[in-house]
């Protein structure tokens, strides 16, 4: 079962590059001794990963990806870096770029570039999809702040939904830093999210602020660059997208995962938490045990912490006291030694979930004996919970206050958007917030 990755815009392409790099390194570049599995199982794993993410073409391993950007520099850089790694390559023919960017303007990306380029982009996607023996679905990487990733990304997602009504579509969206990468980022985010809600199956949210904290506090990187942040994102994505099996030996295909995580179409926002995160030097000195990892991860979920440091242990699962984070569904991915011995009952606690869902069904766990990215034991939690509410609220607040002053609105109207479209998007997202708050 294969997944086709769509990398949209500068952010999408940069994250995509790191994502494939992480998978390739972990799968192909790992010594057998460290993997904790016999040779045959490892070979099976490698074959699974190849089937899922790569295709064998012209003698080299090509990523199943379509790269789209409105200006050529980023795609060129990403392709060169992939070639330099020696582990995989991007297919030069599966790239689409124009000369002129979208200028951080969602309307420009969606309406202008969308209608101009959709045919060609869809052709490339069609070609990539036909290469797959069995197509699981599409994984789109995009940002919310810019013009291409957000605007064109939303348009293409819609087209893909129309063209492939039975495939699963998961969009990984990068939430910009709170303070300024782009001034109109809040508008772009509101417009994108509201459109994605109609056409996508799941929206996986990754926040730059949080990833940067992981880099500075856990990985001890002094001067954090975007490629460091993207490496962390790549690690998180790979940790749950790589093959794993559930208790009854079903594989974690995209469809299986999404069917569990998104039981209701009004609740599509997903977030990821991964532990542990350590700098390379510290890995050899650490000894993590499963009970500890599970406990930390549970508390991270309840207290809404994004990493294992600075967790607020005061938040408890009780109706009195501090409010805790409620979830719709959780998927746990355990990789490494002794995964079969792990006790995951803390995630099955009924208080974590709304009363109208049977708590037994709310947790799905997937395991793989093979270690991931040099960590002896690692755990990843993908949850459909109230975590994104704070950021979402914040963004809508800002966007609304800008909208009431009508600031920058003329720039969007210039390209064909109307004030009603803004209002529709605001209304859609307010509904989403209310739904999650009422969990």
């Amino acid at each position: 079962m294969s997944v086709v990755t769509l990398q949209m815009g500068q952010c999408g392409n940069q994250v995509g590059g790191q994502f494939f790099n992480m998978i390739a390194r972990d799968t192909f570049d790992q010594s057998l001794a460290k993997c904790n599995v016999p040779r045959q199982t490892n070979q099976q794993f490698i074959d699974d990963v190849c089937e899922r993410f790569f295709s064998q073409e012209e003698g080299s391993l090509k990523a199943r990806a379509v790269m789209v950007d409105m200006e050529p520099k980023v795609i060129a850089m990403t392709t060169t870096e992939a070639k330099r790694s020696g582990l995989f390559q991007y297919n030069n023919k599966q790239q689409f770029c124009q000369k002129c960017g979208s200028g951080n303007n969602w309307a420009h990306g969606f309406l202008v570039h969308g209608s101009k380029c959709s045919q060609q982009v869809m052709d490339l996607i069609q070609k990539e999809a036909e290469k797959c023996d069995r197509l699981e679905g599409f994984f789109t990487l995009m940002s919310l702040a810019g013009g291409t990733g957000s605007g064109l990304g939303a348009y293409i997602t819609q087209c893909v939904r129309d063209e492939f009504p039975h495939s699963f579509i998961m969009n990984q969206v990068t939430w910009p830093f709170y303070t300024g990468e782009v001034i109109v980022q809040n508008y772009n985010a509101v417009l994108t999210l509201s459109h994605l809600y109609q056409s996508s199956d799941a929206i996986l949210i990754v926040e730059n602020d949080q990833e940067q904290k992981i880099c500075s506090q856990l990985l001890n990187i002094k001067k954090i660059s975007f490629s460091d942040i993207n490496e962390v994102i790549g690690h998180k994505l790979a940790s749950f997208l790589q093959p794993a099996k559930s208790n009854n030996l079903t594989s974690n295909h995209l469809g299986e995962m999404l069917e569990h995580l998104v039981p209701h179409p009004e609740y599509k926002l997903l977030t990821m938490k991964t532990i542990p995160f350590m700098s390379e030097n510290n890995i050899q000195y650490s000894a993590y045990q499963w009970p500890g990892l599970v406990k930390h991860l549970t508390q991270m979920l309840i207290a809404n912490a994004s990493m294992e440091e600075g967790i607020d242990w005061g938040v408890k699962l009780s109706s009195t006291g501090l409010a805790y984070n409620k979830s719709m569904a959780n998927s746990l991915f355990l990789r490494g030694l002794d995964v079969n011995t792990v006790d995951v009952s803390s995630f099955k606690d009924g208080r974590l979930y709304p009363s109208w869902l049977p708590s037994e069904a709310c947790l799905a766990s997937w395991t793989n004996q093979r270690t991931f990215n040099k960590y002896e034991k690692s755990a990843s939690l993908v949850s459909n919970s109230q975590t994104p509410l704070i950021s979402l609220n914040h963004v809508i607040d800002k966007a609304w206050s800008m909208f009431t002053s009508r600031a920058y609105v003329h720039q969007y109207i210039k390209h064909g958007l109307a004030e009603e479209d803004f209002l529709d998007s605001f209304a859609c997202l307010e509904q989403v917030i209310k739904n999650y708050k009422d969990l």
Partner: protein, 497 residues
């Protein structure tokens, strides 16, 4: 990769333009060691084969062709021949094609009406042809840079005419204007008229205006320089104070690394002895243009294209006057002194001494601010500095986090990193108010009006309409600035039933 065309009008415009091309060549020559004609060079230059009498254009192709001969994508317009002739006699003559020049003999006599109405009508066809030719040679034209002064006749009159033309014929291409505003004690008496008449055209037709201020002053009894830029004068003085030898252009063993000051043209084609006294000032303005386009030309982890600048910094259609500042001014050469700290660079960018107009943005309201960083700076440095500076700067309530960041990997010539801030700040209304007051002083008495109304098609209503336009722009900025301490109450959010 997109291309840009530079249109330089009038004496001032051509002098700044001339420095711009010199510095652009310097930058590309220091970065492009292999001499290949790639996309970055093609954004401002054409590669031509001069064996043909009409030099044949060589496109970028795979980016592996060697540079044969570079021609600037520029149009030079002046109504008197002095400046353009000097350029064509000087060392940069090979960069310009004679077909890109439009000149006349008699000049515009510091009269906006002659520049705009008379010469405009006379040369409209020719200008339109020349620009069309330049535009056709571009693969994907993204914007026009128009450089001119506001106080004179040609620059302000014909310059604003050209702007109108560009708006009409190329409505989708962005128009950036670098306008040099006159000072309080400008020698040209009618400069307030010329400026206000031109401002109205700028308000209506430009996408973005970068005002640079021009104030005449007798500096420390040294040679009085004609029509100089006070803000820039102050900046150059600061650089010279750091190293007095720099002013005499001797090789500096002292504090400042040779060739690193943003006011120097060292390393360019024009050699030291040919440099004119006000070249230092023009270099600073030229550097602004280079740094602004650096992210569009070179690679970086957070690219900022020119259309993103207009998108993010112009919240309302008429409020497109942007204040710029550049740091650091120079880099220190003595290896024992640690390099000027990165954070210092960010703090300096917001001090009033580094702005290119005489204004104090810290005490006014920021509507939006863009930080264009070049060189070895990481995103965490930028974030840290934004957090640090956020508290001392006042942003309008609906744009409290109104920062746009751009990161370009390629450092400018002679410095490890640099920062260009482009901000939309309400402090510009002080400059404009001063301009309006000087205009009204003359207009009340109808002084010199007859020189203007003599010209065909020039009506007295042009004056009053221009004054109205200027007043409304000032009022818009002032209204926003009033919100500096009491923000307007915002509507409550949509409620879900």
């Amino acid at each position: 990769m997109t291309q840009s065309i530079v249109v330089q009008v009038g004496q001032c415009g051509n002098q700044i333009g001339f420095r711009f091309w010199d510095l652009a060549l310097r930058e590309h020559s220091s970065l492009n060691k292999t001499g290949l004609y790639d996309d970055a060079v093609s954004s401002f230059f054409r590669n031509v084969d001069t064996r043909y009498s009409d030099p044949a254009d060589i496109p970028v192709g795979h980016g592996l062709g060697k540079i044969k001969d570079l021609k600037a994508r520029a149009v030079l317009i002046d109504m008197e021949e002095g400046v353009v002739n000097e350029i064509m006699k000087g060392p940069l003559r090979g960069v310009f094609d004679y077909k890109q020049l439009i000149t006349d003999v008699s000049g515009a006599g510091n009269n906006w009406a002659i520049g705009h109405k008379m010469y405009g009508a006379k040369y409209k066809e020719e200008i339109s042809e020349t620009i069309r030719r330049a535009a056709e040679l571009c693969d994907c034209l993204q914007c026009f840079f128009v450089i001119h002064s506001m106080g004179g006749g040609t620059g302000s009159g014909l310059g604003s005419f050209v702007l109108n033309l560009l708006h009409e014929e190329y409505p989708d291409i962005y128009r950036f204007v670098m306008a040099v505003y006159p000072s309080h004690e400008d020698d040209v008496i009618t400069s307030p008229y010329n400026s206000v008449l031109a401002m109205r055209q700028l308000t209506d037709n430009a996408d973005c205006v970068l005002p640079v201020e021009n104030q005449c002053e007798n500096i420390h009894g040294k040679t009085q320089i004609f029509g100089e830029m006070q803000a820039l004068v102050d900046i150059v003085n600061k650089i010279n104070q750091a190293n007095p030898k720099l002013a005499e252009r001797k090789s500096s063993r002292g504090h400042v690394k040779a060739g690193s000051a943003i006011s120097t043209g060292d390393g360019g084609i024009v050699k030291g002895k040919d440099e004119k006294p006000f070249d230092s000032m023009n270099n600073i303005a030229a550097n602004v243009l280079l740094n602004m386009t650096s992210s569009a030309r070179f690679e970086g982890s957070l690219n900022v294209d020119l259309n993103e600048i207009t998108m993010n910094l112009v919240p309302f259609p008429k409020m497109h006057y942007l204040v710029t500042s550049q740091t650091p001014l120079y880099s220190v050469s003595d290896v024992h002194i640690p390099p000027r700290r990165l954070d210092q660079m960010f703090s300096d960018a917001f001090s009033k001494d580094h702005q290119l107009i005489k204004a104090d943005p810290k005490h006014s309201l920021y509507l939006a601010c863009a930080l264009m960083v070049r060189g070895k700076v990481e995103v965490s440095d930028i974030r840290r500095n934004i957090e640090r500076l956020q508290s001392s700067l006042k942003f309008i309530h609906w744009n409290r986090d109104g920062w746009k960041t751009g990161l370009c990997n390629v450092a400018p010539v002679g410095q490890p990193y640099s920062l260009l801030t482009i901000a939309n700040n309400t402090c510009v209304h002080h400059t404009f108010s001063g301009l309006r007051d000087r205009f009204v002083k003359l207009y009340k008495r109808k002084a010199h009006i007859h020189h203007y109304t003599h010209v065909d098609n020039m009506e007295i209503e042009d004056f009053s309409e221009s004054l109205e336009s200027l007043t409304s722009v000032i009022k818009e900025y002032e209204t926003l600035e009033k919100q500096i301490n009491n923000p307007a109450p915002s509507l409550p959010r949509l409620q879900v039933i």
